[in-house]
């Protein structure tokens, strides 16, 4: 046994120390996000801001079910029931992402950087690092579950029993451990860190979509996905414990498979072989733009597929949505329906905003690729060729602009194509496209801000993601909890007219475009003047 796990304890303690900021911040952020919203829901329901019945009706909307899962306990829709209904899936996704990053960081990344080789040269067991990673994720998830339970109970509201709080915490911990196990498993198969990471995130998305589709149409599909199964705990309504067991068992199976595969493969290589590549570069790989495209092609396509899937998922509920909204007086009153427009048109506004914010994530990643190239010394290689800094950064900018147009088109097309299949009165493709393209200047302004950061604060581009996080909160959740209008006006999305409900305003768009051009000019200036980061 010793040859396998010797010195696991030291490695584990070292990881705990090395990552102390990473895991503690994750825990604080996740617990803060979840518990912080309890009083918000409390206000919403008890202060009479929203009728309890109206809330149930809203949550029973197929689009909402696809988004957050089925409604339980509608007869007595307590704060606890509403809270678990709305928050659990989001929280599970976050804890899933946390575990994917935590595990790849200590497995494939360590191998790719060559640090693993250093470790393995020491008198350390063959599986010690894997074991230490398992211990690390186990402790972080258990710690998260415990802290979350305690704080949920401390800040509990109506209908939030002790048992429900514990089950909420346990569900989070169990799903976290499940994704840690699947990520460790995929890390054995993938041939490098990047593909391990993207395969793991893809699995998370697939399981989420399986649950969404299953919850709307065919429950058995939702039961196969752990993300759907865990919702059957019906927290704060029935507090069923049975779904926890199969997920724990499944995690153990993946953990066992991981150990088995880890024993079979060589360090630094995956079970999927690295196939031989091209001997010569394709003709279009001949300049900064060709290179930028080559490097980001797969990511661009993958995100295009994700955006289409999400748009199609929303589009597929148009039929149910229309029937549901037309027949329901409560909800018509609630969202202040305008009789001049169809229910789908009114819902389209919200969907377009959500889709636009989602597509901003890969757009920012695309702009930020230049920082990645800089940090890894690839930018230096290019600048030592007859290539200017301006042409490097503008290649990424042009690629970003083209991709953002494509993404908005894909979102519009996805909503329209699937929507018109299920509902005859779906608006025309043109109005979807107009609605989607109206968001382009808003997306570009955020991209422009990132360019300014790249130009003046090299290596600090993460700042923009905090801003995007703020934009998501105020534009999405902010509308639900009625935050003041000015909070939205601090983001570019807040200025986009709600087409087709509102008129298109030329001045807003010209203004946003001018701001974007200005931001780019300033960012380019800074980038040209400063030294690039060197190792």
């Amino acid at each position: 046994m010793n040859k396998y796990i010797a010195k696991t304890r030291i490695l584990f303690l070292n990881m705990l120390r090395r990552d102390r900021l990473v895991w503690s911040l994750w825990i604080v952020a996740v617990v803060g996000f979840i518990v912080g919203l309890v009083p918000v829901f409390d206000n919403l329901l008890l202060a009479g801001e929203m009728d309890r019945l109206a809330m149930v009706e809203m949550m029973k909307n197929p689009a909402m079910i696809a988004l957050v899962g089925p409604v339980y306990g509608e007869a007595d829709y307590t704060l606890g029931a509403a809270f678990a209904n709305y928050m659990l899936v989001f929280s599970l996704l976050i804890v899933g992402v946390m575990n994917v990053f935590l595990v790849t960081r200590h497995t494939r990344l360590e191998e790719d950087t060559g640090r693993m080789e250093l470790l393995r040269a020491l008198p350390v067991g063959r599986h010690a690092n894997l074991m230490a990673t398992a211990l690390l994720t186990l402790s972080v998830n258990v710690l998260l579950a415990v802290i979350l339970t305690v704080f949920l109970y401390l800040f509990r509201g109506q209908g939030m029993s002790m048992e429900g709080c514990v089950l909420f915490g346990v569900s989070m911990g169990v799903i976290g451990i499940f994704f840690a196990a699947t990520t460790a498993f995929l890390s054995q198969i993938a041939s490098n860190n990047r593909s391990a990471l993207s395969m793991s995130i893809l699995l998370l998305l697939i399981l989420y979509v399986m649950r969404a589709v299953g919850d709307v149409w065919h429950e058995s599909l939702a039961l196969i996905s752990p993300l759907g199964l865990i919702l059957r705990t019906k927290i704060f309504v029935q507090d069923s414990w049975w779904p926890v067991l199969p997920i724990v068992a499944l995690s153990l199976v993946f953990a066992g498979l991981t150990l088995f595969l880890s024993d079979k493969r060589d360090m630094g290589s995956g079970l999927l072989p690295e196939k031989a590549g091209r001997e010569h570069g394709a003709t279009w790989l001949s300049g900064p733009f060709g290179l930028a495209f080559k490097l980001t092609k797969n990511t661009i396509i993958l995100w295009g597929v994700v955006i289409f899937m999400l748009a199609a998922m929303y589009g597929s509920v148009f039929g149910e949505l229309d029937a549901y909204l037309s027949s329901n007086a409560t909800i018509q009153a609630m969202i202040a329906m305008d009789p001049r427009f169809t229910p789908v048109e009114q819902f389209m506004v919200l969907l377009m905003m959500v889709m636009s914010i989602i597509s901003t994530v890969p757009i920012l990643a695309l702009v930020n690729r230049i920082s990645h190239e800089e940090k890894n010394g690839f930018l230096e290689l290019m600048l030592c060729q007859p290539v200017s800094k301006t042409s490097m950064i503008s290649s990424y900018l042009v690629l970003t602009l083209v991709t953002s147009v494509c993404y908005q088109f894909i979102a519009a097309f996805g909503l329209w194509s699937v929507g018109s299949m299920v509902l005859e009165t779906t608006p025309t493709l043109t109005s979807f496209i107009v609605s989607a393209f109206l968001y382009l200047p808003a997306i570009w302004v955020i991209a422009g801000m990132l360019i300014v950061i790249i130009g003046f604060l090299p290596g600090k581009s993460a700042i923009i993601y905090y801003y995007l996080g703020y934009a998501i909160v105020v534009n999405y959740i902010g509308r639900l909890i009625k935050m003041p209008e000015w909070t939205r006006k601090l983001t570019s999305y807040g200025y986009i007219p709600q087409y087709p409900l509102e008129e298109i305003s030329l001045s807003v768009h010209v203004g946003l475009l001018a701001l974007f051009v200005l931001l780019c000019a300033v960012g380019f200036y800074g980038f040209r003047k400063r030294d690039i980061l060197t190792k």
Binding site: D112, N192, R194, E274, A276, G277, R278, E279, H280, G281, A282, L285, S286, G287, G290, L291, K294, L295, N376, G377, F378, E380, L381, M382, L383, C384, Q385, P386, V387, S388, D531, I532, T534, K535
Partner: protein, 295 residues
């Protein structure tokens, strides 16, 4: 070809370069040597217009290295000291990209170089070892038709056979009248290839000159055997490190007095005489140890 005057560069409070002068004329191969952290790579990055000097001027082909980087790079080939390549591109793709950026796609020459350096261009760069990544950069550099080659420790990951291939390539460049700036730790390599050397230490150039000039400044080692017993030699002020060994009498002497000493030795009946020229190694060591003592 290359003219840098009084280059200063600070990173925060750390002074990396403190008034460096560097000149490289057409057809010269300049060896750029110095210990780790002396500022070699920083200087090369300034020459390549990747970093901007705080003070001083660097001209390549008479153009400013920072302002006119793009123009200059048409005719400059660079091999960085730490070659990082895009992990998901193959070596072949990287070489083609670099050659196309220079509009210098010479298929035959590229193919020949790939074979000589025994590189597999179909492998993804993430699977290459350090030496193989260096080979990719070297193939791209040698296959491009440049006038100036800036090579930052290009052989640090190569095996001795590949080092030979590299040296042959550099000598061929010299024959073709190209200019090369070569930084290296391997002094035997610099000695073999370079006709001029600049030594840098703590951001300052402490010695520049042709190898023969520099050797003048140092001592030659002489081992001599004579029929008659040598007398009075160790009292001479030109003679250093005088020792009697089993191989004969050994001493060192400033190169300029070598004629005098042969004349002095002849009457004793020389049976064996070895004059060993100073190696760059000794030059290097004597410089560093002298500096070390003076500080």
């Amino acid at each position: 070809m290359l003219q840098a005057t009084n280059i200063h560069k600070n990173f925060g409070k750390v002074t990396a370069l403190d008034g460096v002068d560097l000149t490289l004329n057409e057809g010269e191969i300049l060896g750029f040597i110095g210990p780790n952290g002396a500022g070699k790579t920083t200087m090369m990055r300034i020459i390549m217009g990747v970093l901007q000097a705080d003070q001083g001027e660097t001209k390549v082909f008479g153009l400013d290295s920072w302002q006119n980087a793009v123009e200059i790079h048409q005719k400059v080939a660079y091999v960085p000291g730490d070659v990082n390549l895009w992990p998901n591109l193959t070596g072949g793709e990287v070489i083609d990209l670099f050659l196309r950026l220079k509009d210098a796609h010479q298929k035959n020459q590229k193919q020949q170089l790939i074979e000589q350096f025994e590189l597999d261009p179909t492998k993804k760069c993430r699977t290459y070892s350090k030496g193989n990544r260096q080979k990719v950069a070297l193939v791209a550099a040698f296959a491009s038709d440049a006038d100036l080659y800036v090579l930052d420790e290009p052989t640090s990951g190569l095996d001795p056979l590949m080092e030979k291939v590299f040296q042959a390539k550099v000598l061929k460049l010299a024959e073709a009248g190209k200019s090369v700036l070569l930084s290296s730790h391997i002094l035997s390599e610099v000695e073999k290839l370079c006709n001029k050397v600049s030594i840098i230490r703590e951001g300052k150039i402490i010695e520049t000159g042709t190898l023969s000039e520099m050797k003048h400044l140092t001592r030659m080692q002489v081992i001599v055997k004579t029929q008659k017993k040598l007398k009075g030699l160790h009292e001479s002020p030109y003679i250093h490190d005088y020792r009697e060994t089993s191989k004969g009498t050994s001493f060192s002497i400033n190169s300029e007095y070598i004629g005098d000493i042969v004349a002095y030795l002849t009457p004793f009946g020389i049976t064996d005489l070895q004059c060993l020229p100073p190696t760059l190694e000794e030059l290097f060591m004597s410089h560093y140890s002298e500096r070390g003592q003076s500080e």
